[in-house]
Amino acid sequence: MTLEAAPVRPGIDPRIVLGATLAVIIAFLALVSLAWTPHGAASLTPLAEPDAIHWIGTDAIGRDGTSVLMTATLTTLLLAVFGTLASLFVGIPVGAALAVRLPPSRRTAHVTSMLPPALLIGMLVSGLAAPANLTLFLAIALPGTVVAATITRRVLAPLWHRDYVTAARLAGLRPLAAAQRHVLPRLLPQLGALGLELLAIAILIEVSLSFAGLGVLPPGTSLGLMLREAQQFMAIRPLLILVPGAVAVVTALALMLAATGLRGARHGA
């Protein structure tokens, strides 16, 4: 039997740099909307054509599209972040306990499997006349917790049963100390990747549910609601559909790219 050497810490993956840069730029522009947007809440001609001043035109009630877009991105990001944090806070400890207590399992999960349950939960909770923020929170956090626990268990189990961890524990290191020294450095990037992936899917859940009328409702703003409100003017003002959707998809893609890099997978997701 050969003992496995502890791994060398790898350098920073270019995918992390690209994905994180894009995501940070989008998040920064969204945060700027708190203090400044190009045209504020000024009422203009409804559904004006895009021009040099109003980049994507104005929406159905005469707000500047770019300004609404910045505010909407912030709402979407905040809702996604809250749901994701709740999933991680519950899912990771549960998954870790399962990994240490139970024998290793072959069960695995992919974050995209959150979408159908999220939609069902959205239909159910919204039907019960729950507030929009609660609906979205539950639709993200409930499937997110299950996925986070499953992935944490799947990732932690093999790390915990490595030879060098067993050797450290046999040498007298207590479980938590062994975990901190030998498991945590390899686990943290995996958990970071998990968080980014959950966030990416949470953004897509917000967009889908609000588009379906199950999430954010007027007079609020969110990327999904922008798509819902612009749907009937799609043929004459396609930018009002293309841009908010593209912001959501590009943000999700950037987060997934950074997650893939963080996970250190050589061959993609």
Binding site: P116, A212, V249
Partner: protein
């Protein structure tokens, strides 16, 4: 094999009964649901017979949603398997392209892809209808009105399936490769053969999961294309807080999803030699 079939059956029955109980608890015991004049057990059984306490059109709605989901399943299966196999067979540039394309496809929300397709094919090229549904009495017309929605619904799942098949094809045990090479098989042929043998038995269950997701996800695509489907009716019921209709619609959706997923998962019996060998013993 018997274990596998029984497990699948139990999962399907459990999912339907669990969903029925949960829906009944949340949407019927709570005040505001319709039909409270009848006893509770009649209302519970009514869930399974489609009796929501008020006249409804759930059946004819399903006649739009189910074909849409099946058409999307065919598209997802064909495109996803094609892309996945191509990536596994030709490593290098083809693989890289497929990975990038599938990665992007897998993250596109189907309803937004539907809007893009409607803009491109209906508004710009004027090839296909952008919205509405032609009744089934006009078969080519009905299929034409389902084609764009099915593409929008199926393509993201094709991306997910391609990534999965590609990964399954790549996870081949080195020991097995060495064994085949010792028998005189070239390394690349050995990898391909072993990869296929590993990926094929996983396909039915992957398709089953995709079918469930397609059936539920159809709601949003139906709203984009104004199709009179079950999902769109459920969304309407949720918006109107019509709990009787919501309950009946959701359970019908879950029952159809569970049956379809069961049938697809059972196909594994046909493609998994390990399961068949177990049966002969």
């Amino acid at each position: 094999m018997r274990d596998y079939i029984l497990t699948r059956l139990a999962l399907a029955v459990g999912a339907v009964l669990g969903a029925a109980a949960l829906l009944f608890l949340l949407l019927d015991i709570l005040p505001g649901a319709g039909g409270t004049d009848r006893p509770a057990w009649v209302r519970f059984l009514g869930l399974f017979t489609g009796d929501t306490g008020a006249p409804n059109t759930l059946g004819e709605r399903l006649a739009v949603t189910l074909p849409l989901a099946l058409l999307a399943l065919v598209i997802a299966g064909a495109v996803g398997t094609g892309l996945g196999l191509a990536a596994g067979r030709y490593r290098g540039m083809v693989d890289g392209l497929v990975r990038a394309l599938s990665g992007v496809l897998a993250l596109l929300p189907p309803f937004w892809l539907g809007m893009l397709l409607a803009l491109l094919f209906a508004a710009l090229l004027k090839l296909l209808p952008a919205s509405g549904f032609v009744p089934w009495s006009n078969l080519p017309g009905a299929l034409a009105s389902l084609l764009l929605p099915a593409l929008a619904l199926g393509l993201p799942y094709a991306g997910q399936l391609a990534l999965r098949i590609r990964r399954d094809l790549g996870s081949v045990a080195e020991d097995d490769v060495q064994r085949l090479r010792a028998q005189g098989v070239a390394a690349s042929a050995a990898r391909w053969k072993l990869g296929l043998a590993g990926a094929l038995p996983e396909l039915p269950q992957a398709m089953a999961r995709i079918f469930g997701a397609l059936l539920i996800g159809a709601a949003l695509v139906e709203s984009v294309f104004f199709l009179p489907g079950l999902g769109r009716q459920i969304l309407g019921a949720a918006e109107q807080h019509d709990l009787g209709l919501l309950r009946g619609g959701l359970l019908l959706l879950i029952m159809v999803a569970a049956c379809g997923m069961l049938l697809l998962a059972l196909l594994r019996v046909l493609v998994d030699p390990a399961l068949r060998a177990e049966w002969r013993r």
